[in-house]
Amino acid sequence: MSKSSKEIISKLGPLIGLILLIIVVSILNPSFLTISNIFNVLRQVSISAIIAFGMTFVILTGGIDLSVGSTLALTGAVAASLLAGGFDPILSMGIALILGLILGAINGVIITKGKVAPFIATLATMTVYRGLTLVYTNGKPISGLGDHASFQLFGKGYFLGIPIPVITTLITFGILYFILHKTTFGRRVYAVGGNEEAAKLSGINADRVKIAVYAISGFLAALSALILTSRLNSAQPTAGQSYELDAIAAVVLGGTSLNGGKGWIFGTLIGALIIGVLNNGMNLIGVSSFWQQVVKGIVILLAVLLDRKKSE
């Protein structure tokens, strides 16, 4: 077998896994395949997928971003409070997105200029951002966001019969896919993750690339905060807890290496779908929520083990 066809098969592994999973779930409970359930799954997946897209960029550079869940909570709370205060919805959403971008960039600056390991830096900011959320909200949910159509539709609306969060996810995916695979910036992301020293010695500003990927990650966390806040019509100070782990799981399930430099964003989309279908499927089949966690963990482990086997 030629090397490239081998590569394609290994890249399609997660997709095959997803299809098998869908078949199994549909056999066990045919109601999985109803339009309303599929939209339900996709709406849920949209929030985790968008975060996982950002995580893919970060992980490709060899980093990790544990702060995404807290960033989601803080940006969601800020958006909600602005809306509740009668701010223009578009402006409120824009402010939340920019805040996400800044929170992410702060991670990047700590990591590059402060030379702190990404795990430690984002572990710290995860706690700080969560704390700030609690301070900002006084620990209480923010509701009464008004009935601005533009904001309400963002999480709950439909366009041509398709849920808007799903459309948002697909558009985001398309843009990020283009950035990662077609632009010089994308190439630099892979280069920094593949061999940072060689990248720097080839005239690549590795620090700037890293700050940018964390900023992207923060921005995307804010984007999913808006979807979540709109769907719930409120912002919870505890929102997004452990979302970073689901995002990392989606990236890894999609075949991206935690060592950086290797992987692709399409895999992450599939990884997020696998987790979404698994969650939904187990609910439909009636697996207890305690057992669901066990199963999810085992699936992640199996996927990684299979991937190891293949690459040997």
Binding site: T184, A191, N195, A198, A199, L201, S202, G203
Partner: protein, 496 residues
């Protein structure tokens, strides 16, 4: 005595060894030579049980053997010391020596540390290495680490030791110590397989040589009965002609000038210049600060003081990006850690320093990228099935050419080459020399750092010699001899 006959091996239908023979007598040093990809490593991996052979026979002292793992080979006293040493830097010398064979009180794994320390010290001093066994192994020089590897082999009763490019990272003094150690062990009946690209070393230490080409046995010679030219001809299968191709060059104005460049603790007051069309060699022992000077000129390190001038104008270079703006290129010393992104294809590696060139408003244009890489694959004779082939799977010589291609793509006017032919086989070496000549003829100012004196003497118009962070001498083409360069490299008194 080891006898290997009719050894064949294929990977996925790709024949890498075909009917190869090799034998190793008691107490001899047997060189194994061949260009990269000739099958030396595969043959030795079969001997040491890392790979299994498809066909053929291995006999140790007349007994047919069949190794399934390195453990099997070790039982027969066969040990390989790889080019990348197997030393754990954070463990002590003694801990490294006894790794996996620790001495314990009873079955519970309680370590006899004192006993192991004492034995390690004894064993190492027998090999001429006097170190505290409690020293952290990573704090020792590569040469000393190599001796520890040999000691490890001896501690496991090795009778046959395979050394793969043992001197690649050693200083001349360390090489001398290593050779003394090898010769002493040889006198005790231990045999060595010596793999190296350095012809001088093979002639100075080996007894016999076996040559492979394209996975096949070419011949075997006793060292005293052969010569450089014969071996090269056997390796490449043709007469190679002059080792260093001729260069006709008009040397022009001063292109790069460095004045009193200093990085505290690494080097100080380095001043020199390189003219257009000139190849200036930089010689010195390992650790003399040559690479550090190159990295500073290229903006990868920060200078504490001193000036860099291009075309007579002072320039400020704070990062490789600045250096590249001034048309400086830097082909790094270690292509695997500093030169290439190994996961990347040839095409992506070549594009890495040329992303602006192959893109339009930030979008990479595949056709531009492809035409750039194809141009250099042709010009530099990079042997590959496709520009999409990953850099990892290329031989050393081809990897080096990819790094060169990356920099040629930037159309440099000053090119710094750091050990441009290390670990590169002899045929590719000559091609790289030809590329350097072509560049000089096109007016590029070339600064070539090299630890191989014949290469410096064969290629440079002028040579700068460094010793412990200082420029200790400059030698012109006419007075270039190994002795004269070594005089300065070892700290000879005469100052420029």
């Amino acid at each position: 005595m080891i006898e290997m006959t009719g050894i064949s091996k294929a990977f996925n239908g790709n024949v890498v060894l075909k009917d190869v023979r090799f034998n190793l007598k008691e107490g001899e040093i047997h060189a194994l030579m061949g260009e990269n990809g000739a099958g030396k490593s595969t043959l030795m991996k079969i001997l040491s049980g890392i790979y299994t052979k498809d066909a053929g026979e291995i006999k140790v002292d007349g007994q047919p053997v069949n190794f399934k793992s390195p453990k099997d080979a070790e039982k027969y006293g066969i040990v390989v010391i790889h080019q990348e040493l197997n030393i754990l830097p954070d463990l002590t010398v003694a801990e490294n020596l006894f790794l996996g064979k620790e001495k314990t009180y009873g079955p519970f794994g309680i370590l006899k540390n004192r006993e192991m320390d004492r034995e390690a010290e004894e064993l190492l001093s027998k090999l001429g290495l006097h170190v505290n066994p409690k020293t952290r192994a990573g704090d020792l020089s590569v040469g000393k680490q190599q001796i520890i590897e040999i000691a490890k082999a001896i501690a496991s009763d090795a009778k046959y030791i395979v050394m793969d490019e043992p001197t690649a990272a050693l200083t001349d003094r360390e090489i001398k110590t290593l050779f003394e150690t090898i010769n002493e062990l040889k006198a005790k009946g231990i045999s060595f397989v010596y793999i190296s690209h350095r012809m001088e070393e093979i002639f100075s230490i080996c007894d016999r040589i076996t040559i492979l080409r394209d996975g096949q046995y070419v011949g075997e010679r006793n060292i005293p009965e052969t010569n450089f030219d014969e071996i090269v001809a056997m390796m490449v299968g043709r007469e190679l002609g002059e080792r260093f191709p001729e260069r006709q060059c008009d040397i022009g104005d001063i292109k790069l000038e460095v004045r009193n460049l200093t990085v505290k603790g690494l080097f100080e007051n380095i001043s020199f210049n390189v003219r257009k069309g000139e190849v200036v060699g930089v010689a010195g022992l390992m650790g003399a600060g040559r690479t550090e000077v190159a990295e500073t000129i290229f903006g990868y390190r920060k200078a504490h003081s001193g000036d860099i001038l291009i075309d007579g104008n002072k320039v400020s270079i704070k990062s490789p990006i600045d250096a590249m703006k001034h048309k400086i290129g830097y082909v790094t010393e270690d292509r695997k850690t500093k030169g290439l992104v190994l996961n990347f294809s040839i095409q992506e590696n070549v594009a890495l320093a040329n992303l602006k060139k192959v893109s339009t408003s930030g979008v990479v244009k595949k056709e531009k990228e492809l035409s750039l890489v194809n141009q250099y694959i042709e010009q530099l004779k990079i042997r590959t099935s496709s520009p999409k082939q990953s850099a990892k799977s290329l031989s050393g010589g081809n990897q080096q050419k990819v790094v060169l291609a990356k920099w040629l793509g930037t159309e440099p006017e000053v090119l710094i080459l750091d050990e441009p032919t290390r670990g590169v086989d002899i045929g590719a070496k000559k091609e790289i020399y030809q590329i350097i000549n072509d560049l000089a003829q096109a007016g590029v100012a070339i600064l070539m750092i090299s630890s191989e004196l014949p290469e410096i003497i064969g290629m440079a118009d002028r040579v700068l010699v460094m010793h412990e962070g200082k420029l200790t001498g400059e030698v012109s083409k006419e007075e270039m001899t190994q002795e004269r360069i070594m005089h300065f490299a070892t700290g000879g008194e005469q100052v420029v």
